[in-house]
Assembly symmetry: C2
Homo-oligomer: 597 residues x 2
């Protein structure tokens, strides 16, 4: 049975010592986020994750969701009770404005809480998580009427949300989508079509399900410019807020899949279902992208979450499993053998995962704080620059954190040897669950294309130049800081690789766009390494600053310094290979004729 | 439903044009391996794999094996009939000497055939595969009497074989094992103990199951020097070869696991079961290592096999799935969208897998031919040098081919987007099945330790120096070959990295063994890249030589040249990062106290 202990102390260290939450007091809601409140929220979330969600994780995997011929879907044993506690705890709306019954706390808090929930039980956490995504889109694009009618119940969690994009013949290329919308006399629309891979499309956790659905209004332009976003509730809602008739949307079946068995993945059939316009006609993709950006950050968090829980279990096993002796001589001579944590190759695995987790958590928090600035600051320039950061970092976080999350779950499983392959230890579930995060909300190859094809060149490269500038300034200002040198020097080198790769694209992708496409994936990971390396410098600096006055936490702070060095010595050197691949260009990648495959 | 087409032409190209099977006529059995015979064997194996084994792959995954309270295990629907065809086709004994009813053909042929079988159905292929491993151990170490009594039926496949090493508390560290053996008056032994993770330990495919079991004779020295190998049949065998009484060995349960559901993974209980000594008392580990070496090569082949079949399915999907347009302009303007094979990032995936597969197949074949020399040559020096090669390359093949096999199955799954996560397409099964190959027969971290800790320094580094010498001589002899320069130069550079890493170990691991342990995994992969790069040079050279007289095969040969270039430009540069990690030493990896984790 897998264990989990939410990393509350690490989250608090990041919030307080690295990112100085107390400097953000001018943002609405942040003054409510006093150290006491933050501490209490995180400890409560930790308790719920550890005691309620963790024990349900294997149950959810084993039982899965069950579809019945009447189109209903039942979730695994215990999910209903746990979901009730989500509603009672007000967990969905932590960062939603109070006017819609949220608590208005920083989005950074939501991301930390979501990490805890996902570590404990990813399939379960998707139900509230998707609702948060839908809330974000409605907040940004829906009319006041729709907001008033739907948001409060969604924020409470009494109703859940979904996003309906994919159709059998189209996923990435939404321009091909066929679902139809026909305007009715009363201003509503009739929606028809089939959507697939709809997470939480049908289930027994909430009283109503609010679907956000992309469809094409009759006569709309072809391609992506003729797509509109609609709100389609499972049950129509009367003016007094009570539930009305069942809408013409139903779940045709659920998928048998590799993992996240506790979350229903539905085929949704819309047969003239009643829906309402969100935003403007034919501007649905725009609205959907708001939701996607929030969702993509959230999916990145899933990668981190699974990496963290897999790590914790691997550590516990490595301390307990006795096998062989340390090559430098027995470390536990009183035992039949040494615990395998003494072996360098096991250490290599544990340190690699740990060096990712702590920096990835920082990267998420840094970006979530930018999202708070982008949404709440009164200074337009500050908002714009935070928004640039979000746009640039979101694909990196989604792509890199989920790739690493999966890779780390696999590494952690390896620590268990044969026992990692057996279901009861739960390690293979982490691997299967983590896998989806690389695929959904835009497969990671699409994230790389988004980064290189859209984000790099946007507004004359304003976002990437600002990122370079920030890191360069950081390095310059510390050029005489000897204690930091061991972290700064490798970061400077890898930043150079990233700049060189960016330059290479500028010089070679205009002439031949395939050069960008062929290098985009390596660029995303090169970027990720530099961003994580920058986070390690910030963490190391905060740890060094805190050490002199550290009492009980000295060991934990010192461990951060060692882990930072590990990252610099063992992981950051990967930027050289990424750069070499990028500079190889598209030649051999694209040369073969399609039928030579 | 996944597809599979066995790569017969590629195998023939390697056998004939790269490795010149016709130059080995002096080895026993090779004169029987005329081009006609080889062609016929491979085409027959291909047909059986494609038509019989492939359709059973999903069935095996879905149904799994079933254990009944009487200790019997039934295999999935169709496995029995397919196994009958294994026996009828004589597939197990292709390379076994004729005196034991084998066909005496080169071991290289067995490896190719096993690749086909594993691609089509890995869980199934393990039943005959494990029997081959047991046969190898018996051939090498068993008495004439045991050989005569057991081998012919095993070679025919009427009886299958297993290997029993792992116990609940010990896997890698066999010195801890507790199973007991007590000598009887008639020279047999009574074996007692519990073994776990025993693949094919019980099933309904064969009349008898011959277990090779490690146990400790009463009073034997502690640790690995007190372990003996025994033959323990499920049914005792009478002197006339007929089956006698049921032996006191039974299957207590089977594991619920991540993949290879069609193969039974058994807990085996030995309750005073009758067994016979294989080899000498207390020398069981030695005998087991013979079996392990064969088995490890076979497990490497499993990695390649899954990479190949996953690749083929990804290619088919990439040609068929219409989504988006090529960034350099529509390539199929008559279709609603371009097939995704036009996108550089999809190409990156397909080329990466392909560039691995063809070189990995060459590496297996090269090494299998060395195994033939090691076992069959009359020249002792030749035998010794071939044996050096086997010892050195076996951990590399096991570790690198299975790591890449899994990684490539994941990459191929990614091409399918969301559809890759759904069970019916079969891609997620390849991922789950491929995962075990990194774990069993010695987890890959153990392979790396075997390589660095044992094989590098053995006999004064004779094996690695011979490898360096071979590749260096190859490079030197072609220094003026302009057509080859594009492949040779990168290989030279990466060989330099490998030599530098080897030197670094020599200088730093004596003083501090953890330096070897911390770098061993990267060294194994660095070695793998160089070995695969060398294979690509040999393949490219053979393709260049054949091109002028190529008629129908020109496109296929040209594709090899492009793929070789891709490998050099995109994959081989990884050696620089591996070297940097190795040279970082054990410092930050080992610095944290155990309880800091």
């Amino acid at each position: 049975m897998p264990i989990y202990k939410a990393p509350v102390d690490d989250a608090l260290f990041l919030l307080n010592d690295v990112f100085h939450l107390d400097h953000y007091g001018n943002l609405p809601g942040f003054s409510d986020a006093s150290p006491d409140v933050v501490d209490a929220v995180l400890r409560e979330a930790a308790k719920f994750s550890e005691e309620v969600l963790t024990p349900l994780n294997r149950v959810g995997d084993k039982e899965g969701c069950k579809w019945a011929a009447d189109g209903s879907v039942s979730t695994p044993t215990g999910f209903k009770d746990a979901y009730k506690q989500i509603v009672e705890g007000g967990w969905i709306g932590i960062s939603v404005p109070a006017e819609f019954r949220g608590q208005g706390l920083p989005a950074a808090l939501t991301e930390i809480v979501n990490e805890f929930f996902c570590s404990a039980n990813m399939a379960f956490a998707m139900y509230p998580g998707l609702t948060q995504g839908a809330i974000a889109a409605l907040l940004m694009h829906a009319s006041g009427e729709l907001k008033t009618k739907f948001l409060p119940k969604m924020v409470e969690g009494v109703w859940t949300g979904t996003m309906n994009l994919t159709e059998p013949h189209c996923g990435t290329d939404l321009g091909l989508l066929r679902s139809k919308a026909t305007k009715q006399a009363d201003g509503s629309y009739k929606i028809s079509g089939t959507k697939i891979f709809i997470s939480a499309g049908e289930h027994d956790l909430s009283e109503n399900i609010i679907h956000l659905v992309l469809a094409r209004i009759e006569g709309a332009p072809a391609g992506t410019k003729g797509i509109t976003l609609f709100l389609v509730p499972k049950f129509l809602v009367n003016d007094d807020g009570s539930l009305g008739a069942r809408n013409a949307v139903s779940c045709g079946s659920i998928e048998e899949k590799m993992g996240i068995h506790g979350n229903s993945t539905c085929v949704m059939n819309y047969d003239g279902a009643t829906g309402w316009l969100i935003g403007e006609e034919n501007r649905g993709l725009n609205a959907m992208f708001t939701m996607m950006n929030e969702a993509r950050l959230g999916v990145g968090v899933q990668g981190l979450a699974l990496s963290e829980v897999a790590y914790q279990n691997a550590v516990a096993y490595a301390k307990e499993r006795l096998q062989g002796r340390s090559i430098s001589g027995a470390k536990y001579p009183d035992k039949a053998a040494d615990p395998i944590i003494v072996h360098p190759d096991v250490r290599r695995i544990l340190m690699s995962i740990r060096a990712f987790n702590e920096a990835a958590r920082a990267l998420v928090m840094w970006t979530a704080l930018k999202s708070d600035i982008a949404h709440r600051s009164e200074d337009e320039k500050e908002r714009k620059s935070a928004d640039d950061h979000m746009g640039l970092l979101t694909p990196v976080i989604k792509g890199v954190l989920t790739d690493s999350g999966f890779a780390n779950a696999v590494l952690a499983q390896q620590v268990f040897g044969g026992h990692g392959y057996i279901a009861e230890h739960g390690m293979e579930q982490f691997v299967r669950d983590a896998r989806i995060a690389q695929i959904y909300e835009g497969a990671n190859g699409i994230q790389a294309l988004d980064l290189v094809g859209r984000k790099l060149g946007k507004d004359g490269g304003r976002a990437i130049l600002a990122f370079f500038n920030e890191v360069q300034t950081y390095l310059k200002e510390r050029v005489n800081n000897d204690a930091m040198n061991v972290y700064l020097k490798p970061l400077g080198q890898s930043l150079g690789h990233l700049q060189q790769a960016s330059m290479w694209f500028m010089q070679n992708a205009m002439v031949k766009p395939d050069n960008a496409g062929a290098g985009s994936y390596d660029y995303m990971h090169l970027f990720g390494l530099v961003a994580l390396g920058y986070m390690w410098c910030r963490i190391a600096e905060a740890a060094l600053a805190k050490l002199p006055k550290a009492n009980g936490s000295a060991a934990r702070l010192n461990a951060k310094l060692v882990t930072a060095r590990f990252f610099m010595e063992r992981m950051l050197p990967g930027t050289a290979t990424r750069l070499a691949r990028i500079e190889a260009g598209a030649g051999s990648t694209m040369e073969l004729a399609d039928d030579a495959f």
